[in-house]
């Protein structure tokens, strides 16, 4: 047992993934499920503590740290891996199965890393494995998106490695602890340079504003099952890392608030429902980042609880929209509608996910999000609280109403696809049960949280005010649709910051190259003209018939010699 515990959790999945090509294709999907369950069993039975202490190249490394912060992330990552594996049981693609199981294993290993070097190794492994889930769509667009994703993700790893090396140089230790210190809220100025580099690395993976667009660019281009895996791990790993390293860092409150706000506006006009969900994911991360920034025990508990619930309901939403994509061949709102007639189970599961993310009482989002809002209230952060309320109304708009309404109701598209395959329905059913189960049996979730919990979500105030917010938002939707102000779905590409490196920068580089080439051409042409002119003049004057090169007559010579002698004589006498 001890020897097993010394290996990073998730090792079974990473190693099993490597050996997967040796399994018959028909059993690979089942092998992924088996590996996930085996890894989960091992993780649950491993007691809290630090394992895998090794001395490598002069450094003391702690490969495994299972404590109250890493335990809930490890658990929910295993749960997500199992549910996603069930969802992907019909897939017969070795590459996807390998990528998915190794990616999930790497994320679990990273969440339980006790030092920055182990974290870096698994951090990069998540990037290198997950990109194959994007590439597995096998088209030009996903290939390009995958390349952009890989560059950005590996860039995040390089920043982390630089920060880790600097941290070792400054402190002599690679241990992954808080960079903020214990003295309450801290500002950026209080951070050391290694801390700032590591924060930037985490910020990229956490999709901070302006660093976010890899998420909306790549996730919707992955395969049906690949997106479900992707939605669970990378960003929540970053949330864990931020909670471990930067709890109480005040600027995170502002960053988190911006993250909750801007995606909701994009989500209103986005047509691709998987991209709407990617914006929604970004907005949910914002709530967690605010919690980490506030940094109190209630806020950190809220963040961890919200990450836990979020992984389940976001997987559920991606699974339901993925089932639609699988059956209909598109996830664009303009092409969908009326699917509840032939996909009733998927519709029901999607609505449970939509209710959970919106925070309806008795569903999981309610018991976790309200903790973060209460933490903002307890710290008397009025503007933060107001922003989070607006963002909650926004969640209701894009995930609570838009996703289920345009996919399954709205105008009838006339499409009557078959219900999702049974493995997909089972996976969605498990996730939906999770959403309801946590919403009702919330003490089970609270027992997992890093700090002791003294919080009761089902007070009259919480329930009434939350219902007011959500149902009046729904009323606003009905009102706007009735008066025709709700924007029609349109087939369109919505530009985001990726426009900078997909359009503006390449166009700018082409313009720069053209300018350089024009100047170069002009300079060469002018130089060539000067040389030609010089050669012509030289030939004119020094050629056989030229003034200097030609043969002069004796008379002329005698004349000029006489003139010269006469002039010198005159000068001599004067």
């Amino acid at each position: 047992m001890t020897a097993m515990a010394d290996l990073p959790p998730g090792w079974i999945m990473v190693l099993g993934g490597v050996l997967l090509p040796f399994v018959h294709k028909r059993f690979q999907a089942w092998a992924v499920l088996g590996l996930s369950i085996a890894s989960a069993a091992l993780f649950i039975t491993t007691p809290a503590g630090e394992y895998g202490n090794i001395h490598l190249l002069g450094n003391d490394l702690t490969m495994v740290r299972i404590d109250p912060l890493s335990r809930p992330f490890g658990l929910v990552f295993h749960l997500a891996a199992i549910v996603s594996a069930i969802y992907a049981l019909h897939v017969r693609d070795t590459r996807q199965h390998m990528a998915a199981v190794m990616y999930a294993g790497a994320a679990i290993g990273a969440a339980c890393a006790g030092d920055l070097m182990t974290l870096f190794v698994f951090w990069e492994l998540t990037a290198l494995t997950s990109v194959f889930l994007v590439w597995a769509s096998k088209n030009e667009s996903s290939y390009r998106a995958g390349m952009r994703y890989l560059i950005i993700q590996v860039g995040s790893g390089v920043l982390l490695l630089s920060g880790a090396i600097m941290q070792y140089d400054v402190t002599g230790s690679l241990r992954f602890d808080s960079f903020v210190g214990d003295g309450g809220m801290a500002s950026l100025a209080d951070l050391s340079w290694p801390g700032r580099l590591v924060l930037a690395a985490f910020g990229i993976k956490c999709a901070f504003p302006l660093m976010h667009n890899w998420l909306q660019d790549s996730y919707p281009k992955a395969t049906v099952t690949g997106t479900v895996f992707l939605s669970a791990f990378t960003t929540k790993l970053a949330i864990y890392a931020l909670a471990r390293g930067f709890a109480g860092l005040e600027p995170l409150i502002v960053i988190g608030c911006v993250m909750t706000m801007f995606p909701i506006v994009f989500a209103v006009i986005e047509n691709d429902l998987r991209r709407v969900l990617a914006y929604s994911l970004n907005n949910q991360l914002g709530f967690m980042v605010v919690g980490i920034g506030i940094g109190t025990e209630l806020a950190i508990n809220g963040t961890v609880a919200h990450a836990f619930c979020h992984i389940i309901y976001k997987s559920l939403l991606f699974m339901s929209v993925g089932a639609v994509l699988f059956r209909v061949g598109t996830a664009k709102a303009t092409e969908l509608g009326g699917l509840h007639k032939s996909m009733p189970w998927t519709t029901g599961f999607c609505m449970i996910g939509a209710g959970a993310i919106s925070g309806f009482p008795l569903l999981s989002g309610f018991v976790s999000k309200s903790m973060i809002l209460s933490a903002a209230g307890e710290q008397h952060l009025l503007w933060v609280w107001v922003v989070l309320l607006i963002a909650s109304a926004g969640v209701m708009e894009h995930s609570g109403i838009k996703i289920p309404f345009f996919a399954f109701f709205a105008h009838d598209s006339g499409k009557r696809p078959a219900e999702a395959p049974s493995n997909m329905l089972i996976a969605m059913g498990i996730a939906a049960s999770g959403c309801i189960g946590i919403g009702i049996a919330y003490p089970l979730l609270y027992a997992l949280l890093p700090h002791p919990v003294d919080y009761h979500p089902y007070t009259v105030t919480h329930v009434v005010t939350q219902l007011q917010l959500l149902l009046y938002a729904m009323l606003a939707f009905v009102f706007l649709v009735r008066i025709g102000w709700y924007p029609e779905e349109k087939r369109a590409e919505v530009l985001d910051t990726d426009w900078v490196y997909r359009k503006w920068l390449p166009a700018w580089i082409v313009r720069l190259a053209n300018s350089v080439s024009t100047i170069d051409r002009a300079l060469r042409s002018a130089g060539s003209k000067v040389i030609t002119l010089f050669l012509q003049k030289t030939e004119l004057y020094f050629g056989e018939t030229g003034f200097f090169g030609g043969t002069w007559s004796t008379n002329t010579m005698a004349f000029w010699a006489t003139l010269l002698l006469g002039t010198s004589l005159l000068v001599y006498y004067l």
Binding site: V265, I269, V464, Q468, V494, K503
Partner: protein, 86 residues
């Protein structure tokens, strides 16, 4: 779609009207709740204003949709915008 297909429960105009009516009634009920119940531990003064989260939720939703409409001409392009070079 089959022409002889019956409209589903959610498509019948009467049911849609009933659902909307139900929503309006529940919303009215939630507003009335505020007359008989006050938040015993408000963190902010604004929480004590009448049916605060109700009107705030309505207003926030309308503003978000309005902002989305305003953003559309700025960031919306044809679907093939990135084709070939992105």
């Amino acid at each position: 779609m089959n022409d002889s297909e019956q409209p589903s429960f959610f498509e019948r105009p009467r049911n849609v009207r009933m659902m909307i009516l139900g929503l309006v009634c529940v919303c009215a009920g939630l507003a009335v709740t505020d007359l008989v119940y006050t938040n015993p531990h408000p963190h902010f003064a604004i929480e004590s204003s009448f049916a605060f989260q109700a009107w705030f939720g309505f207003l926030a939703f309308v503003i978000i949709v309005f902002l989305g409409r305003c953003m559309r001409p700025l960031v919306s392009r044809k679907e093939d915008y990135y084709d070939g070079d992105g």
